[in-house]
Symmetry: C2
Subunit: 354 residues, 2 copies
C-alpha cells in the first residue's frame, strides 16, 4: 500500500478538495497508471452530493480515466510502462460468472467492482477513482488507447462513449436505421457521433434552441424541438432511440416516435419514469422500452478502436482540478459543451510515500 494525492469529498456537504488516499501495491496482474486526464460524469456529481443516498466517504470520484502506465506486475504481458491506457467505470468483477464469461462484466452476477465508492476485491478497502494522481487496476480492466486519439477528448469515451456505443451495437444499429437521440449532453453528443459513424440517419431532439446548430455540426441529419406538435408530426418515424434525459420524465411522447418494433433505450434517468408507460402505446406498434449499462471490457476496447478508426472523441472543456466544484455547478445549469475533463497535471504532487 502507498499513499498518493487526490481530490476527495469527505461528506456530502464538503466540497472536493486535496486529500491523501491509499492505493494498493502493484500485484502480479496489476497495472499502475499515472493519470493524465479524467472526465467529469454527471454521476460523479450525484455521488459526491449523495443525491442517491448511497455514497461512501471519503470519495475520490472519476471513472473516465486516461493515463500512462508507470509500472506493471510481473505477470502482466500486454502492457508496459509508457503505454497510453484508460480505465472506465469498473476495475474488477468476479470473472467467473456467466456474465463475466461472456465479457459482460458490467452485469457480473456477483456485481462488478465500481471504480470508486465500492469495495476493492483485493484489499477489501474503498475504491478511489480518477480525480487522483495514480490508480492501480488489474490488467483485465485496463483499455489500450491508440496514440492517434486526442487523449483528453478520449477520456469521456470510457463512460459516455461506451454507454452509447454498447446499446447501438447490441441492438444492431447501422445503415438504413432511423435513430433518435433525445437530449444533447455528455451522452447525447457521443450518441450522435457514434450512431452517425455506424451509418444511421440521426435525428436529435433537444429542448435547448442554442444547441440546434451544434447538433448539426456533431453530425445530426435532423434536429427537432420537443414541442408537442413537432413530436406528433414525427410519430412512428424512428427505429431506435437513445434517451439521455438525466431525470425522471414522461417517456410516452418519445415512445410514440418509434416505428413498429422500435426500441427506446433509457440511458439517463435511473429513477422511476413518471408518469407511467402507456400499455396501449407499446402494444399497437410492438414497441419496447429497454436500458443498458456501460459495456463490457472487450466491448470498451472495441469502442475505443472504432473511435480511433473514425476519428471520434468527445467535445471537451479542459479544467484544472481546482475548478471542479465550479464545474459541477455549471453542469447543473447545463452550461457546458459537452464534457468537462480534468487535466490532472493541475493536481500538484503533495504527498509522501510514493
Amino acid at each position: 500500500m502507498y499513499r498518493t494525492n487526490a481530490y476527495a469529498a469527505q461528506s456530502a456537504d464538503q466540497p472536493l478538495g486535496p486529500f491523501q488516499i491509499t492505493r494498493r501495491e502493484v500485484g502480479p496482474h496489476d497495472v499502475r497508471i499515472d493519470i493524465l486526464y479524467c472526465g467529469v460524469c454527471h454521476t460523479d456529481l450525484h455521488h459526491v452530493r449523495n443525491d442517491w443516498e448511497s455514497s461512501s466517504y471519503p470519495m475520490v470520484p472519476g471513472h473516465e480515466i486516461v493515463g500512462l502506465v508507470s509500472k506493471v506486475g510481473k505477470h502482466v504481458a500486454d502492457f508496459k510502462s509508457g503505454d497510453t491506457v484508460g480505465v472506465g467505470c469498473m476495475v474488477d468483477s468476479c470473472q467467473h460468472c456467466e456474465a463475466c464469461a461472456k465479457g459482460l462484466e458490467q452485469y457480473c452476477l456477483n456485481a462488478p467492482t465500481w471504480t470508486y465508492g465500492d469495495l476493492d476485491r483485493v484489499t477489501g478497502q474503498l475504491t478511489f477513482g480518477g480525480y487522483s494522481k495514480r490508480i492501480v487496476v488489474t490488467e483485465k480492466f485496463v483499455i489500450k488507447i491508440p496514440q492517434t486519439l486526442d487523449l483528453k477528448a478520449a477520456a469521456p469515451l470510457l463512460c459516455a462513449g461506451i454507454t452509447t456505443y454498447s446499446p447501438l451495437r447490441h441492438w444492431k444499429i447501422g445503415t438504413g436505421h432511423q435513430v433518435g437521440i433525445v437530449g444533447l449532453g455528455g451522452l447525447g453528443h457521443m450518441g450522435v457521433k457514434l450512431a452517425k459513424a455506424m451509418g444511421a440517419h440521426v435525428t436529435v431532439f433537444t429542448t435547448s434552441p442554442w444547441k440546434v446548430d451544434d447538433a448539426s455540426r456533431l453530425g445530426a441529419d435532423v434536429v427537432l424541438s420537443t414541442d408537442k406538435e413537432v413530436m406528433r408530426q414525427h410519430e412512428s418515424s424512428l427505429d431506435f432511440i437513445l434517451n439521455t434525459i438525466p431525470v425522471s420524465h414522461d417517456i410516452n411522447p418519445y415512445v410514440a416516435l418509434l416505428k413498429r418494433d422500435g426500441i427506446l433505450v433509457i440511458l439517463g434517468a435511473i429513477e422511476p419514469l413518471e408518469p407511467g408507460l402507456d400499455g396501449d402505446l407499446i402494444a399497437f406498434r410492438r414497441r419496447s422500452v429497454a436500458s443498458s449499462l456501460i459495456g463490457g471490457i472487450e466491448e470498451t476496447q472495441e469502442m475505443i478502436n472504432f473511435c480511433a478508426e473514425h476519428g471520434i472523441a468527445a467535445d471537451v472543456e479542459v479544467i484544472p482540478i481546482q475548478k471542479i466544484n465550479e464545474a459541477y455547478d455549471r453542469m447543473v445549469k447545463r452550461d457546458l459543451k459537452y464534457r468537462f475533463v480534468i487535466d490532472m497535471a493541475s493536481l500538484k504532487q503533495e504527498s509522501a510515500g510514493e
Copy 2:
C-alpha cells in the same frame, strides 16, 4: 345487404339483448359464416360498457368466432360451404402497406378493420361482431379450423390464443427458456399451455390461491404467489414474462424477476402503468418491457395449426347468449375458468330477410 339477428348493446347503459343488424352481401372474395360459437373476451365487456369512452352503438361484440361456411363469393377458392372456420379481432386491413405486406395486418399503417365497432372498408357502415347468427368476411381474414379441434374450445384461440402465441414466437421462446406467466385468466391460461408446448419451463404467478392446482394441471412447472418475499427470492430468474394483469399496476416487481436481457411483455393493461418503470431496474440487467397486439392472419393460422397438432384449446364454460350479462358480471368478479363461450344455437332465428 341483408338483415340477420344478433345480440347487441344499444348504449353503454343498455344491457345486451336481441337486435336486428345488417350484414353486407357476399362479394366475390367474401365468405359467409354461420356462427357456432363465440368466445367472450374481457375487451367485449369494456366496449359494451364504454369503459374506454370510444364505443360506437349499436354494438354487436365478439371477436372469437368459430362457425361453418354457408356461402362463398365467386372468386373464393380456398373455402367451401361446410368448412369449419374462424374469425378473430380483424376482418380487413389496407393490404398494401409495409406491415400488411409482411403479414402483420394487426399493425396495418392505415389501421386494420376491427371485427366490431369499426367502419367496414367495403360498405362504410359499422362492423358487427360474433354475438350473431352470421358474419360476412373477406376470405383473407378467415382462418381454417382443423376438425380435430373441439370447436367451442377453439373459439378463444382467435384472440386469447394468438395474443399469447405471437409474442412467444416473436421473441423466439422455446426449450431452455424460463417463462413466467403473470395472471391466470383467459390470456394467462393460454400462455401456460402454449409456452409449455413450445418447450419452455413455465412459472405461474397468481394472486388467487384457488388457482394453484389449476395452474399445475394446465402445465405450469412452478406456481408462485405474488407475495413480496416470494417475488424477491425469484429475482433475475426468468428469460421472458407474459404479464396478463388486465389493469394498471406496478410492473417493477415483475421486471425484477427477469434475468439479464429478459423481456417482460404487457398483454393485459392498456392504460399507463403506474407507478412508473424504474430506469435503474432495467439498466442493471439490460431488461426490456414490450407489448404486442394479437397476431397477423398467417400467424393466426399457424397458431391454430400448432394448437391442433399439440391438442391445445381453451378451458371454456359454454353459455347461452341469454346469460351474457350475467357472464360479464362474473368476469368482473373473476369467477370463471377460463373463458366463456357462447353457443350461438341459443340465438333463435327471429329475423326476416335472410
